[in-house]
Point group: C2
Chain length 366, copies 2
Amino acid sequence: MGRKRTKSGKIRLAEVAELAGVSPITASRFFRNPEALSVAKRTRVESAAKELGYVPNLAARALASQRTEVIGVLIPSLTNNVFSDVLRGIYDASEGSRYSIQLSNTRYSILQEEKLLRLFLAQKPAGLIVTGIDQTAESHAMLEAADCPIVQIMEIGPNPVDMMIGFSHYEAARAAIAHLFAQGHHKIGFVGARMDPRVQRRLDGYVSAMKDASLFEQRLVVTTATPTSVTLGGALFTDLLAREPDLDAVFCANDDLALGVLFECRRRDIGVPEQVAIVGFNDLEFMASAVPTLTSVRTNRYEMGKTAATMLIEAIDGRRPEQPVLDLGFKVIERQSSSARRSDSRPAASGAGTANKMVALPSSHD
Amino acid sequence: MGRKRTKSGKIRLAEVAELAGVSPITASRFFRNPEALSVAKRTRVESAAKELGYVPNLAARALASQRTEVIGVLIPSLTNNVFSDVLRGIYDASEGSRYSIQLSNTRYSILQEEKLLRLFLAQKPAGLIVTGIDQTAESHAMLEAADCPIVQIMEIGPNPVDMMIGFSHYEAARAAIAHLFAQGHHKIGFVGARMDPRVQRRLDGYVSAMKDASLFEQRLVVTTATPTSVTLGGALFTDLLAREPDLDAVFCANDDLALGVLFECRRRDIGVPEQVAIVGFNDLEFMASAVPTLTSVRTNRYEMGKTAATMLIEAIDGRRPEQPVLDLGFKVIERQSSSARRSDSRPAASGAGTANKMVALPSSHD
DNA sequence: GTCGTTGCTGGTAGCGCTGTCAACGTTCCT
DNA sequence: AGGAACGTTGACAGCGCTACCAGCAACGAC
C-alpha cells in the first residue's frame, strides 16, 4: 500500500534527487560534503534544490545521523547584563554556521546545572558551552564523558574539561586594589552581592591584596546573597559606612553596585573621589558617562562569547585550537571616581578644604 | 540481518516497554497522554522508565509526529535590557513545559526577520513569538499561513495575526507628557535613539500630546538611528539644549537616555527638576535609586514574556485563550525628577529658592 | 594484460518514535 | 439478551534522512 499520511506537498530530498537525476544519497552528500560530487552533479543538485525550495528536515537528519546540530549553552542568569553581552557574542558567532543555540538558565544553582546538563547531553549536542569551573562532581564526570567539544567560559582555572576561555577574577580584583593603593587609598571596603563563585574569587583577590598590605579587616567586607541591583549598592554601602565611617574607598564587585554607591554618596553629600573613591567591575557602558566618571575593571564579555562559540564550532568541525585555554585578560580603566587623593591626611566630613560642603550640610544638622 | 550500527547501549522506548511488559506504543502513550492508560500499566511503565533512566529521543519523536516541541522566538536585540526581561519571562514560562525555546535575533531588521521566519517555519515549530506588529507583507503572509499558534509581543495594534500581548506605546508617551503638563511644564523636549517602530510610536504620542496643547515645535525633537546608550543620552540632550536653551523638561524614549540626560545636567550644573524635569521610559531598576530619583513609565516586561509564553503553550495544547489580545498597560511612576515646579516663572540658574545651590556654584565661576 | 588504487555513485537498511486502524473487553442501554 | 458505546491495547507501516558497503569506471604500476 502507498503512503497514508497527508504529505502537505513537502519537498523531500528524494524530490530534489529525482529532478537532478541522481540518487537520494548523492543529493544528501551534496549538502554535507559538496566536494565529494563531480562538478556536473553538484551543479545539477544545486539548481534542483533551489528550484524546489528544498529545506532539509533537521529531525530526520538528526535521527539518521545520530547527532544534532545544536550547541547547548548553560548560563546562570538572563538578567545580568554581563551575560547578555556574552550571549550576544555566542549568537553572533553561531549565525551563518549550521549550528543553532539551545540556551538554558541555571539560576546560579549547580544542581540545576547538573539537571540541565543531563537533559542536554541526552540529546547529543554538537557542542556545549558552560559557565565557570564550579560544576558538581557528577556534572564534571558527565562533561568528561561527553563525546562533544566543550568550552568553559567566564573564568580560567586548573583542570579544564576541554577548552576554556575567560580571565582571572582573582587577579582582576587584585589589580583594582593595587590601583586604589597607588592613588593613596588605604581603608578600602568591599561590596558584593549574589556571591556566585566568580564574585567570591573577586573577594578573594581583594582580601589577598589587602592582607599583603596588612590592611585587611573583616568589617571592611559587606556581602549578601541577594541578587545585585543599583539600589542594593546603596544599601550595602550604607551598611559599610556604619561599620567603618572612616572609609577611604570602595571596591564594588560589579558596576550596578558601584552606581548605587555613587548615588548613595550623592544622597549623603559624600564627595567622590574626595572623600570616598569608587571602583566597579565589568566596565558597563554607563560607567564612562556617570558624574564623576567611574573607574572600573574592563572585561571582554562580547569577545569571550564570540570566541568561545567560534572555537567550539571549529572544534566540532575537527579543527581543534592549538591553545585550548585562552586568557582574555582585563584592564583597569582609571576614571575620576578613583583619582588621586588631594592630601595625604583624611579630609573628613568636618575637615577643611570644602567650604561649600560645610554650607551645604545644614539640611542634616538638626 | 541484525542491526549494524553501534548502539552505545542507549535505552529506547522498546526497552522500557519490554521491562514493563507492554507494547512500545503503550509506553509511548504513557509519555504523551498518561490518562489514556489503565492505572496498572501506567505505574508499570513509569517505574520501568525510571529504572532504566529512559530519556526520549526528540529527533525521532519529531520525525514520526511531524511536529517539533520548539517555540521559536524572534526578538530585535539581545543587548537591550528591555528584551532580556521579556526573555526571562519567556524562559521561566517554558521551564517545566515540554517545549524548548529557539531564539533568534533580527537586529531590528524586518528583512532579517523575514529570513529567520522562513527558517523557523520550515522546521514546523510548535509555536512562535514575534516582536511587534511591523512585519513585511511577506512575513505577515507566512505567519497567517503557519499552522501553529503565534503571539506578537511588545505592543498591541490592529489586525493581530493570532494572539497579541503588549501595550500602547503611543498612549504611554501621551500619559508621560500629560504628567509633565500637570507638573507645570510646557517646553518639553523629546530625546530618542534607535527609532525602531515602538520608539517611533512613543514619538508619535509625544507629538500628538504636544500638538493637542499647541506646544509642539519640531526643534524640540532630537532623535538618532544610533543604538541607545547612557552616553548617547547626554549627547542628544546637549543637542537639544543647543536648539532650545529654555527647555522645561525632557521626555526620554528610554531609561538609559534619561540617565544620560541626568548626568549631563549634573555636568552642566542644571538643577533637576528645578530647571529641567526628566521622564524616562520602561522604569528600569536604577531609576528608583538615582539622585534625584527618576520618573519613568513602567512597563510590564517580565510579565509580558511570561504571559506570552504561557498563552502560547496553552494554545499549542489546544486551550486557546478567550482573550487573544491582551493589553498589559503601563503606569507613570512619578518621582523627584519631575516633581512640580517651585514657581510658575522660570527659576533660572540665578533664581531664588536654592541658597545652597548659589553657594555651591562658585566651583565653576573662575 | 592483469591487478590494485582512486573517485564517484547507488542500494539497502535502518535511526526511534508515533499515526492509523483494528481488535478486544467491559459497561450501559433498550 | 443483543448491541451500541466506550475505554484500552497492540500491529503495522512509515516519518526523511544517512551509515554502510558494494559496484563501477578510469587510471597507473608491474
